[in-house]
Amino acid sequence: MTQMTEPDVVTAPGTDPQPVIEMRDISITFGAVRALDEVSLRLFPGEVHALMGENGAGKSTLIKALTGVYTIDEGTVLVEGESHEFHSPAASQAAGISTVYQEVNLVPNLTVAENMLLGREPRRFGAISVREMNRRARRTLLHLGVDIDPRSVLDEHPIAVQQLVAIARAVDVEAKVLILDEPTSSLDADEVEKLFTVMRRLRDEGVAIVFVSHFLDQIYEIADRMTILRNGRLVEERMVAETTQLELVRLMIGRELETLERLDREAPNTEAESGTPVLKAVGLGRKNTLEATDLELFEGEVVGIAGLLGSGRTELARLLFGADHADTGELTVRSEKRRLRSPRHAIDRRIAFSSEDRKAEGVVQDLTVADNMLLALQASRGWLRPIPQATRTKLVTEYIKALDIRPADPTALMRNLSGGNQQKVLLARWLITQPDILILDEPTRGIDIGAKAQIQAKVAELAAQGMSVVFISAELEEVLRLSDRLVVMRDRRKIDERRNDDVSVRDVLEIIAGEAHPEGDPHA
């Protein structure tokens, strides 16, 4: 290990830094596709190791090779210097490798404690000891700083808390290696901080942590070392402290960076705020969900909604679309007062809404890309009027090309697409309905920089053509880059609204923090 300079936090001086895991020249082939091509990865005890790369770079494949989900075609895996072969996730777990996947992978209708100890329940006289189970679960949760009742049913908690439970479950096994595959994609800043605290503690206890995240700032905050992949190949292993963000992005992607820079917008579109609003909400609210909120949306305008998770940003979007029923308030769509009773009503009034939960509320996994794209249009035509074959082909080909969807195969099953491409298909689904109002809730969550830039560019282009857009994202930079007007939400209500004239991320954070409750986030 002489070719690397080890920072103090990574290994104590004088100890022999033998990697706890070393993967050497791993190759995996799916059919004709070489998903991994001689990729190597070293994990040292007591480090946070970031695995970097775009979607499709091979990060997930590498992780699944390590956790025994995929069988390795070539190459070796050394665990503390000894060669191992993992033929199943169980074998990998037995070797001390624990994983938390991006999508929460727990049982929604069991309790928190049952989820955490599933498969290794404490027993007493042969029967499961519920008391002991709850006690252990509570202890682990408190260790993580998560104050929830272990006896509560998992499903009652927001995704962010479920994610923390998944992490608590992994931590509970006392793993040597902890793999966190995008654990932060649904957490707000507060919860990310909590997670980082725990990660640092585990690292100091000697655990090797593999961390996958699309948030570069988080990488720089928490990671010690990183391995960069591109197109299934190893680009480089680097110390984080010795690599600038710009260098890193260049290593990961290269040219798409220009698209992002080009997008850094001209002046906000100010003429937009005149005439009658396309959409106007007065006192729109729902019990326990959103306090009465006013909102106006003008033609060709992008309104960005900023706020932490649970601030009411998603809830507002859902009320605007009729996905949930509003208890109070009035919604005017093009000067026509409307109570939106269902998504159908909204769609008939040319409103489109892409949910934050791509997996549960967006994609139809076992249908083809073409069917997924045409679903909303077909639904509004009714089942008796199928879309003619020629129109289908034309629309699908057009949008696959316009949004650069890969694979460019309309008959591919949706489940075989990467997250970024699924998101583009969902965007296409709504654009095909030719909406006047497009509500996008976290359209770029968990997808790579390339796809992100393409989606952002498309949103800007649509607004320039006169579409009104409500854009919600946890990434403030993204919201600021795209919006003409900015709405800031907190604690289930709107706390600020302003034109986006050189508003900075710091400004927004200050607005959000301005009247912060001492308890912080309500469901933590």
Binding site: F30, G31, P89, T99, N115, F321, A360, L375, A379, W383
Partner: protein, 352 residues
């Protein structure tokens, strides 16, 4: 996997491959035991033989299974089909008896139309419970499964009702163009269902609702209407099946008519390759599945299995077919091939 598959591979991967193979094997066994099994002869302008019997006998299960396929595709299940069949038979038979001219064609047509309309209404009742009131399908249809028998008992006053109408009995024993009318009716409903689902967007929307109900709702799919429609359609199919069964004996026994037919129908759907988890469905698969079950019933006496082992034999065969269709079991059978990546997501908590 973007390798260009050869013809053999494409055939092997075809979803209908296993149901067709199972049916083929069953026929081969029968011919092996009794070489004349497949013989068909012409008599009085009609075809006769085991194959023709299988066609005719498969009709009730096939009818029920077609409706069941669509219900299952929406993640539902319809346990009430047997009871609905009994109600259809009871309604038709009491109507025929109560008519002025018991043997007239118009009597038969009126009685059958009336029975089918009643069954569509009963199916709609199931649909109401499932789609509007949000009751789980297995419970919602269990209600009518139990109550339906009572209703048909009430209609027939608990008596075995016998009718005498040649037009009605033709539904089971008649021949058109040398083929059994019952089978042709089932084929007609198959064709109708295929057109209904695949020539319109109904099939795609049913699958979408079955795979991801919430995503479908947010995309504006009227899933309530769709679920309602498939249960009503299932009622319609069950009603037709009940008429065919009653016509076969010219009578209705409210206690036993169509008893357990829901299980045969579900089996036919599963053998045909439609998953009970909902989503993609195959009408051709169901068609072959129903033929398989009818052939199996015919096989038992043909190869000389004692009638008291009837159910046991049937169960063994069904297990074999289900194993053949399970990708996991097939992988075990094919063991020895070089390992390929298994795209099975690891559960966070797969116990060691």
């Amino acid at each position: 996997m973007p390798e260009s598959p050869t013809l053999v591979v494409r055939v092997l991967r075809h979803p209908l491959m296993w149901p067709v193979l199972a049916l083929g094997v069953l026929l081969v066994i029968n011919v092996g035991v009794k070489p004349s099994f497949l013989d068909v002869r012409m008599q009085d302008g009609h075809l006769y033989g085991n194959v023709v019997d299988i066609m005719r006998n498969s009709a009730p299960v096939m009818l029920v299974a077609l409706g069941m396929t669509l219900v299952i595709a929406t993640r539902g299940i319809d346990l009430s089909v047997g009871a609905i069949a009994a109600i259809a038979a009871a309604v038709a038979c009491t109507r025929i008896i109560g008519a002025g001219d018991e043997a007239a064609l118009s009597t038969a047509v009126m009685a059958m139309t009336y029975a089918v309309v009643v069954c569509i209404a009963l199916g709609a009742w199931n649909g109401l419970l499932v789609s509007v009131l949000g009751i789980q399908p297995i419970i919602a249809t269990l209600i009518l499964m139990v109550a339906g028998r009572g209703i048909s008992m009430a209609i027939t006053d608990g008596q075995i009702t016998t009718v005498n109408n040649p037009w009605f009995s033709d539904l089971a024993s008649g021949f058109v163009l040398t083929l059994p009318l019952a089978f042709l009716v089932a084929i007609g409903v198959l064709a109708f269902t295929a057109v209904l689902t695949r020539r319109t967007a109904l099939g795609m929307l049913i699958e979408s609702v079955g795979i991801n109900p919430e995503a479908s709702r947010l995309a504006g799919v009227r899933s309530r209407t769709i679920i309602w429609t498939v249960y009503a359609f299932s009622g319609f199919c069950a009603g037709l099946a009940g008429l065919v069964i009653a016509a076969n004996t010219n009578s209705v026994n409210a206690n036993s008519l169509g008893l357990w037919i829901e299980l045969d129908a579900i089996l036919a759907v599963v053998i045909g390759g439609t998953s009970l988890a909902g989503g993609r469905f195959s009408l051709m698969g169901t068609f072959i599945g129903a033929l398989f079950i009818a052939t199996l019933t015919r096989t038992i006496p043909n190869i000389g299995i004692p009638s008291d082992l009837n159910y046991l034999f049937k169960a063994v065969v069904v297990i074999a077919v289900c194993l053949l269709q399970s990708p996991k079991a097939r992988a075990v059978l094919r063991a020895g091939r070089p390992s390929s990546p298994r795209p099975v997501p690891a559960k966070a908590g797969s116990p060691a």
